[in-house]
Subunit: 260 residues, 2 copies
């Protein structure tokens, strides 16, 4: 396919590379900041543009991969071409595009992308939605050229997924940071915790989290929990966080094992 990338951030960059690897032709990369467009365009053999007036209409598809609040405005401006237009956002409704473009869709890659790490894009779950059956079929075919893991997810479900990703990714990383801070204060090496963090994530690759919950809260080991709270007494806010999350473990465990 001939594809035009609107945006040059983390997601656009990983999408661009995956599209090129799958043999698609990236016609242009647009960014209002020319050097950003140029850098990505260079890597994927496309033309860089920084003005929407310079868009080449000889494209099959626009992929809008920009900040959430800029999607709708761009969808409106691109509607003069009436090409298949999709966004890549978890938190944005299909309507942001479909109200201006007849053939509208979403390809939401559910992964955390960073500049410092390579990602195997074939393992990134792609959540697709189309404004009609024809668009859906096309996006499904395209998504399967990029990833082994393609799911139909509508706009309401996608918002839940985006929220759940905060619980599954952003919040755990904050807890890793708290743990690292506790270690640093006591001259302990963060390498002590890295294998544990990895194993905890590996465990739920083949189990449900509720099945493999461990720790003092799920054992109802009050003595250990009290000792932990004692150690946290001078740590601003961490006692309350410890109690809230311990209660959450106890609550979910009761729901998981209703007979206990």
């Amino acid at each position: 396919m001939r594809i035009t990338l609107i945006g040059s951030g983390n997601v656009a960059t990983h999408f661009g590379a995956a599209l090129k690897n799958a043999g698609h032709h990236i016609v242009q990369v647009y960014s209002p900041t020319y050097p950003n467009a140029a850098l990505l365009a260079y890597h994927i053999g496309a033309e860089a543009i920084d003005r929407l007036e310079d868009i080449d209409a000889e494209t099959d598809m626009f992929i809008i991969s920009v900040k959430d609040d800029a999607i709708e405005g761009l969808a409106q401006q691109l509607s003069v071409y009436q090409k298949l237009t999709v966004h890549t956002s978890g938190a944005t409704d299909l309507k942001a595009i479909s109200q201006y473009n007849k053939a509208a869709g979403v390809i939401y890659p559910l992964q955390t992308f960073s500049k410092t790490r390579e990602i195997d894009f074939r393992k990134v779950p792609l959540c697709i939605e189309g404004s009609d059956e024809h668009v859906h079929t096309g996006l499904n075919l395209l998504a399967h050229t990029l990833s082994l893991s393609v799911f139909d997810v509508n706009s309401a479900q996608r918002k839940i997924l985006h929220l759940a990703a905060v619980f599954a990714c952003n919040f755990p990383n904050n807890l890793y940071a708290i743990a690292q801070g506790l270690l640093a204060k006591h001259d302990l090496d963060f390498n002590l915790l890295r294998p544990l963090i990895l194993e905890t994530a590996l465990k739920v690759q083949h189990n449900l989290p509720a099945e493999v919950q461990t720790g003092p809260a799920v054992r109802n080991d009050e003595k250990t929990m009290e000792a932990h709270l004692g150690l946290l007494q001078y740590e601003d806010g961490l006692q309350a966080l410890y109690q809230t999350l311990s209660q959450s473990i106890i609550k979910l465990d009761k729901a998981y094992k209703p007979d206990r």
Copy 2:
């Protein structure tokens, strides 16, 4: 070395297998529940006993790997032999053993063990402490036959480590469970989140967590956070948890980037 295992739970089982693989001789496995002792003893070629009176004094070392509140009592009963005696607990002071046994120590394996998953024990960080330099040297040699990752950790530090492990393992798993619950309610497959969970843990294997924090809170994206809180309005307790953890992200980010 000739080693006697006191206990037959998860940690004792993984320790026993690692000791056997490293070429040590497990003399006996003690558990008050004979079938448990017998099962582990069978796997590692040891004798099973369920009465402390049947202990074979021809051993170099006792490894006490039992529930925290049973350690001290066992250490006292085993003190008649005055052999090198260690426990494997993160939350228990060396004193629980050293007050009864001259040669006392700790080998605390910092990992989450389960019956459903194999662990590469050579990658498990072992935290060692000895009652004197002689014991420390011996435990250091022994630990290096089991793992590539051996750290000196005193009793005060070990308690911090045990607490930090709750933040790095037990609490993130609870957040995975919350995310899974949100997905299940909306007919979404947990496989959608598994690669994200794994990547989040992989990211901090070579970075510090504060360096790679992502999500609406660290971007100060209030619109997205409000939308998420709206989605959580009928989820008991989750709005408060979302706000607490978002505030925690914002606080740690300010500490990490003090100029912002």
